[in-house]
Symmetry: D3
Subunit: 293 residues, 6 copies
């Protein structure tokens, strides 16, 4: 169950409205790595969790905080939009360069669809999509996916921090950046703990029988490009992070195997097949004329 | 530049066609974490790379291999579809339970759209989307995103490995699982090397001035749910993985701040605003009637 | 702020797993009118609200309940999936009609992507989209949109109620149907109250100056089809629901106005324009040959 | 059958081109509540209608008018785009603030893709989607969905009316606003008539046996937020709009039920399951080494 | 303007319901090349037409017919769905193989969302998208796009013709196949006529000054793969279809040019840049600590 | 297999950065007819090919070149973005008209998501979609689809050529235009050769038995609009391009057939059905009260 309180975790008001900046901020709300993504991702991982206890509590504990961040940013964007301009014609823009600057940078749908309101979309107006989240049921893979989401998310918050001088906005972003730093570390800590407790280790999924994979092919770095420096990395020689092997380097792929023969599906798919079939078809056409079915 | 050779890195032919299984295999071709995703992701990261040398060579080197994996899986799926049935009516399915079993499990568009062919879609028929890839320009974040993609991808390959007994299919998957093991390790190695070389460290992005974030809020685990075990993890006490601090645990959020005042945008957005405005509107309506503009 | 409690508002466990039915239930979770839609819709309306007080409290009060319904249904689906089958080949399906029945009716991505888990998608596997919600800033329009969502949602729940005999599932749906009945009524009550309080009335938006619309065209029913019974409805004669006019009936549209002249944009868009331009182009081609720029 | 006449229901030409405004107008053509949506929605409802006669005639009669509105707006937008600028580089924009104003506000794809032409997209360039329409087969629910669509649509037309001073554009919008007023009223009238004729009543669907829902839970307003004013509305006490009960108010949800036990699906999904399973896995790994399958 | 008549161009009723087949037929209604696509494509091309007269009349004349085909197929699908089953649980499917066959092959949303009704989606349930249509303003390119659409469309109709034995369905498809044959030919005829009248010729767009393209590179076939037979086609030697040149064959690309230097954007994007920048960053970090801004 | 070389087929560097223009160029990379589309389309056609030899070699040969064009354009866009501005607030834009011009024309996500990098999206920020490609298995249809793609693609390149004066950009576009000219001609040549070799002819698919289509309806041009000039085209009289018939002209459709009876699905879909059913429902409601199940 979720309960709501008409309070915010941290102040979320700009010093003054800025509909141009509002559009930028939509990215960290409704983008691929925005707050809706992390809130939903941690929620679905918790609901799919097969393991009760501290890890699921971690997912629920941070997940619910993220729903509150959705609200903080949504509230901030609504305030940034308070002065969104109505007039949006070419004539008005030509007459007033200041208006032109603003109109060119605002989200049209924030005005027309939401009446100067926030929407579940990214900074280009693409609606948030359920395909953004990751929840595989494998806990180590998923907490690494969470660390990944927090990293990309923090990069984006850092970028938009520099896009404004507004103190109110920067204060809230300062707060969110700190929380992202914490969450980034917390998912990393969880990843380490899962491995330390041998619940799951690299390579993920670790309980897939390694005997079933072609072990000779595991730790080669095969260079399919011509950048020779690729062999200088720790990924091309030395022990592998999963502690099971040694990397090796192949400058280029070895000779491959020939292509399989082309497929010839049922002729009623009307694909283009080799000549014999054409002959058959010709025969069929004759037969066809003789006895119309 | 890309060059193509009419060879495959590894044999990609099933023992016999299986259009039901073909639909499952679409996931690792055109799904969120399928081969199209990793091929394109590594490509875009390389094209966006600001750093020449071994890391970019790594991206190009693996990226081009992945385009070849797209081809291997596509070729396999086309062969699995070779016996895709044409007849798909209720009557036919009722008459023949075996046909029913097959038709109920195949991808309709593989038949109708592609003539028993492979398509750039996932196992539910959703088309591949450019929104699946990650390329931020921050190399450490991006190689972690790559490790994440390989982990989720390997989980999916492992799952579909168990969905069939076909030796041809299992051979190819064995090969791909091994390559995924390798790539998973290689991105992990690269992540470690980037940190060892101090090019980038946690928290990402590390060159954002920490002074600009609200440092008091960084390392708290604040529990927004009531799962008490969350405090037992290494994310709730002890040193943080970035080496900069100590985690602390808060059982619940402290009191928040009040909601900001609702916004009142331009009345020509026809939103619902507080009473004074209603009075104004009423007055306006009168004025409106008196002098139609 | 949102707080989470590891409890459910109502019991959400099936009598036994049923991965076929799980796929059906995804519709009321991640579909156009599923619980994610209403939870997000009421949230965004509250965040965009320009009017503090009872209406916003209503939005927050029901909105947070809906996030809990997301959780209840997600939890139910995860349990329904507990027995999701791994084996999904044609051979296995042909060998075992019972397996075939199940595999043909389950969501492939629930297995491959989520490891027998729930996902933010509809019953056909389309990911939930931010474009499903409505939040215009006009409160009367939005509560009617909410009533609409509850009506469509309740129809869908009623339909899937009949798709199973499982007592655990039916109990939860009984509970949800009752809540939907309540919410449907509550949004209707709110719509009436807004009108009674003259905050907003029909036609919406009521504060758009009616003098600015072509009043002669307002209340005609113009029949663009040939179904003569259309004139027998209360929409074709008698007083209009907004109390401002009388409907009239026109059997067919009156004669229209001629099409405007085709446009002729800049020739560097290389569109196909009338003949004179072709002549110009010919001349241009000659000039082009003479003086290559 | 549809027939086309090269006439427009009302004049649809701007006083002068305005490619900036053209982008705004795309919303009422190809947006969630644009004319394509209502034309298709009424069409699909008619094709799905189970009831011949006046209601279906109503759907066809208005539906075909809306296809004509699609044409009017499309024609208007094409004319607004007639002066769309070709030059779109930074240098050109820096050199000419007027050009910059225009380019910043126009739809790039209208130029590059359509050669200064109209497209089936919204004002942010998202393509129209079949997921925008509602057609449930339940007539009362669907005419309320239609009223909802006309309300949101009329709000958007009213908003863009104020975004320009062009007399040609405003004339057409005046006409459309009037038609929207009429249609909004007509769907309301139909909703009342359906209820008066007892074909369908609240709660929708009315022919679902109420005995099958948990009647004790129907008319409670349960406040999941802390806004106390929510109890002051007509939705928290007094008779319910469906005439079947009385609302009651609960300040907060009562205690819930415990979470169900986590699921443990087949281990070949490689999810993370409780410890015993880990032990099993370890055993399995040993067995695995001993006898490679 | 569009007018509707409650008649169909051709009979559209199945001999008996078949909800399995209904799902297949959705492809030719709401798929990439379904009737909604061609109806909308010809409409948008006509509305964007810069040339009044026979070509625009052609677009309008066929376009309106296609809206009628949308209706015919929609009506057919609704009838095919008349016996769509309600019961959809695993237990029911296991108990009744016939039901299982049907349920596994039907569209779930047709049942749950539309109440056994037709929807604007393809055979996998993806909603129709505005991104399917082509309308460039260049008439020759667009009529070739139309021929392309009719070809792909007719292939799909031919495929689903073979998927059923129902006489009612086959009759309607026979009719549609004939109309597709006609339209395919008509767009071809239009393409020839446009070229004969010199309104537009190959290469499209023909009025782009050829002097501005790198003429030395125009007619080479450069083989980026190793299939030597590619040189045997008429595309590798002999005159070019546009009548302007001769094809030549290059067995492989000539040596390319070096990659450009990596970009180094503003450091506030926190991308990973070469070492000097790292030094700068280190210095910045020190400065940062000294004077927190 | 694909191999990569760190070279470009042709120089791809702008004279100077231009983030405004970068956004325009995204169309020819990630748009409906951008380079990702053609690269993937030719690849999937080759993988689906049923016919080994020159046609498949043609597909592979051009397909791999197109992957290189993806890289060239991606590299160009990354360089155009090198000077992408960070500051994006209203205040900054109001203060500096030059900045405003730039910010209003750039892709926000290029900055926030990719750190001034290129992304797999179109010029409006819509992600590339697998639904853009065509691969039917019918070779003649598919090479015509390829010609269509090259035509629309070349139109777009020609349009953006005129949007800039930058010599570096224009040089690369000159090269691409020439290659598009060649490819357009090559697919045309292949289409002719396939027909000359009788592998496939018009109407496509030619091996569908014509006896199964309603031959009387094939070559009529039926005018569903009132544009009389439509009869003046070669599509309304004279021989048909497929050489099988003669076109005829019908000024208007002949009378159609009546609509089929509305459907009455299972009442548990809660659709609105004719009156008798309502009576039944009333009876049911009584029964319902008497014996609650």
């Amino acid at each position: 169950m979720f309960f709501h309180k008409q309070e915010l975790q941290f102040k979320a008001s700009p010093s003054k409205p800025d509909p141009v900046y509002a559009k930028r901020m939509q990215e960290i709300l409704g983008g691929q790595y925005g707050e809706i993504t992390v809130a939903m991702q941690y929620g679905f991982q918790a609901w799919n969790s097969h393991l009760p206890g501290k890890y699921r509590d971690l997912l629920f504990g941070i997940g619910a905080e993220e729903f509150g961040h959705v609200e903080m940013i949504a509230t901030m964007i609504a305030q940034l939009l308070e002065s969104a301009p109505v007039e949006q014609s070419e004539a008005a823009m030509k007459a007033d360069p200041v208006l032109a600057a603003v109109v060119g940078g605002t989200d049209i749908q924030a005005a027309i669809v939401a009446g100067a309101g926030v929407r579940p979309v990214d900074s280009n107006g693409n609606p948030w999509s359920g395909s953004y989240i990751t929840s595989s049921g494998n806990l180590l893979a998923d907490v690494i996916a969470n660390a990944n989401a927090e990293m990309q998310g923090r990069i984006q918050v850092a970028r938009i921090f520099n896009m404004t001088d507004d103190h109110g906005v920067r204060d809230m972003l300062s707060f969110l950046l700190a929380r992202d730093t914490g969450h980034q570390n917390q998912w990393e800590a969880a990843a380490k703990e899962l491995q330390a407790e041998k619940i799951e280790v690299l390579p993920i999924p670790s309980n897939f029988p390694l005997s079933k994979e072609m072990q000779a092919e595991e730790y080669k770095f095969i260079n399919f490009s011509d950048g020779a420096a690729a062999k200088d990395g720790s990924w091309a020689s030395g022990p592998t992070p999963d502690g099971r092997g040694e990397f090796s380097y192949e400058e280029a792929p070895s000779k491959g195997v020939p292509f399989p023969k082309p497929t010839i599906p049922d002729e009623r798919f009307y694909g283009t097949t080799p000549v014999p079939n054409v002959v058959e078809k010709a025969a069929g056409a004759v037969k066809d004329k003789l006895s119309k079915k």
